[in-house]
Symmetry: none
Subunit: 203 residues, 4 copies
């Protein structure tokens, strides 16, 4: 049996998502009410609940729509530095598209499978792109062996997320990338001789 009954008005989906994004950017997540969203979208609460089961689910959908993950492309310049800088900017773009604080508040309300959807739709796309950049750099032998790719990706991603979220300092993509690539120690060989014998040598 096919779907019967009156089909959903397809214009409502977009209107509601747009209204949600508007309200979100104007009053934030905590003060977003479905009644206001419905009012702005020119529809009613039941029509919203028919499409999204809960408030976080709706907001997630609105953010995903704004993020437009499909448009994210991994840079391929052949240069680790350039690619990673571009990769960091992918994160910057991703986080900039969501009003500040919404991500944290939304995440806090997402439980169970909604949390999984949150991760896979809002977080994975950017992480995957940067992961590919690292992977290619490894393939070219540009990176030292033994790196945990997830750690590298999260070091970049978390930094951007952190500063975008708390906004206590600005972001300079190339400085972070260079710091990560070069390392921080003045002389790696010094530490191998000391009593703790940490291995900081390059291989």
């Amino acid at each position: 049996m096919e779907r019967t009954g009156r089909p959903r008005d397809p214009t409502i989906d977009g209107a509601v998502l747009d209204a949600t994004a508007d309200v979100l950017s104007q009053v934030g997540y905590a003060r977003l009410t479905l009644e206001e969203v419905a009012r702005r979208a020119g529809t009613t609460k039941p029509s919203i609940y028919r499409r999204w089961r809960s408030r976080p689910e709706l907001v997630l959908a609105a953010l995903v729509r704004r993020l437009d993950a499909g448009s994210i492309r991994a840079p391929e310049s052949g240069c680790v530095v350039c690619d990673l800088v571009a990769g960091v900017e992918v994160f910057v773009t991703a986080f900039r598209r969501t009003p500040p604080g919404v991500l944290g508040a939304l995440f806090a309300e997402c439980g169970g499978e909604l949390r999984e959807e949150f991760m896979s739709t809002l977080f994975e796309p950017a992480r995957r792109v940067v992961g590919e950049v690292v992977e290619r750099a490894e393939g070219r032998g540009d990176l030292r062996e033994g790196l945990d790719r997830d750690v590298v990706v999260d070091l970049l991603g978390s930094f951007v997320h952190y500063r975008a979220l708390f906004g206590h300092a600005s972001m300079d993509a190339s400085e972070v990338v260079v710091t990560l690539l070069r390392g921080m120690v003045a002389d790696p060989t010094r530490f191998a001789r000391r009593k703790h014998r940490h291995d900081l040598s390059l291989s």
Copy 2:
């Protein structure tokens, strides 16, 4: 004239903060209600509102109490690696003491001076400790010159925050520290010769 009027019942403060922390860890920030907190603390809403002007202010106070920032001490082993690993563990401790997601949700509702208090009481203590570790390492000449100390601190702190928040992967303090200290490139000298001429040399 001195202080007049009935003094506040000092036991209420503690009971409310404890109840807040309990509710927070059981139902999360979004479903925390002042009525439930009041019920568990054996008091009433106005008594809470007299002490903390709003829900975020109360939760912030409860988290600060849990964090016990005064107890945080900067490690001083004389070894950068050990100190930084210990420093990362300061972050881990700090974020582990707050239920997952609360920090982001709380921050989203903090505006104005409350946001400043959020930063200075919940974030700065751990950042300051790690900052001191880095500063001492620089003083000993263990780190290369030109590092932006804030970037280093946030690279460590954000990573921990990120993984504590989203919980998508575990944390290995020493791996992150080693990655940051050693750097990621296989051969820093390769990049100076190439067309983009990124300077990855050590000085």
Copy 3:
């Protein structure tokens, strides 16, 4: 368009009015709280406020329900004395059905159109019945001419109300009726001859 929206649960109306009457008779008007009424009725405050705009409006509705004005019938025995005694008992019944003091307290809080409703639903029915008794007695020529019917009705009603309210003395319907019918002077003719020349004669 016709009536839309979810229809009201009709059982709540009755449960709330019953609970109101119960609370009223147990703690009086001043200590009646909507929260207690809601608790006893097994519902909540907003459901009450949706039906009655204010506390006096609710109490008025509960009293009107108790009074059951529709059941009040004018006696028609053909005898003024019997009819008036029965009429006084209509007042007695009306005031006895409301807990003492409630009427005065409620009236004090009724303003504007609520006051009009108070008068027309709680007072007029009994006054109208007694008014009809007086009217019929006049038609039969049982009463002397020139009587102000409203004064007569209020003389009977106020006496009952007064004693029911302040409870300082019991009520004997026939004594009041006889006093009013017979008059109080020993010899009406005496007063016409005196210097003030008050006319107490019978026509």
Copy 4:
């Protein structure tokens, strides 16, 4: 033992009673708050509670002060009609001096010994004056025998109270007095012959 300690500020009593009467006439009994009274009297709540144990006790005191029962004098013209008309006006004066509705609302909140005080200070003075008028008229033989003096007094008082309270009709003292004195029946003798044999004869 004498009274020891700091003496009460005697000016506070009057200031509070005046403020109470003011608030009462402006917002009514239901919306009278002790905080507003204290504010207007230039004092504080505990100073009020030290003098009057409760809100109704305070309001009662304020009304008694307004009523000034000591000034009420029984008229002694020697004419029943004149005296009773003057007596009714004593009632009118008494009820007119209290804002409409306050009496009922206050009475509803008075329980136990406060109720007794309410009766003896607000009600008895006027009733006693009219009672004396009736007593003297009886002594002169102006009234028929067998009258219950309390019924007579309450017939007059309740009528005034009733119309003052509910305000649905104006008051004409002489009409009420004449109605009561003359009685209402057209021919008293008619009723003795009928089957019910009510005794409406004059002795």
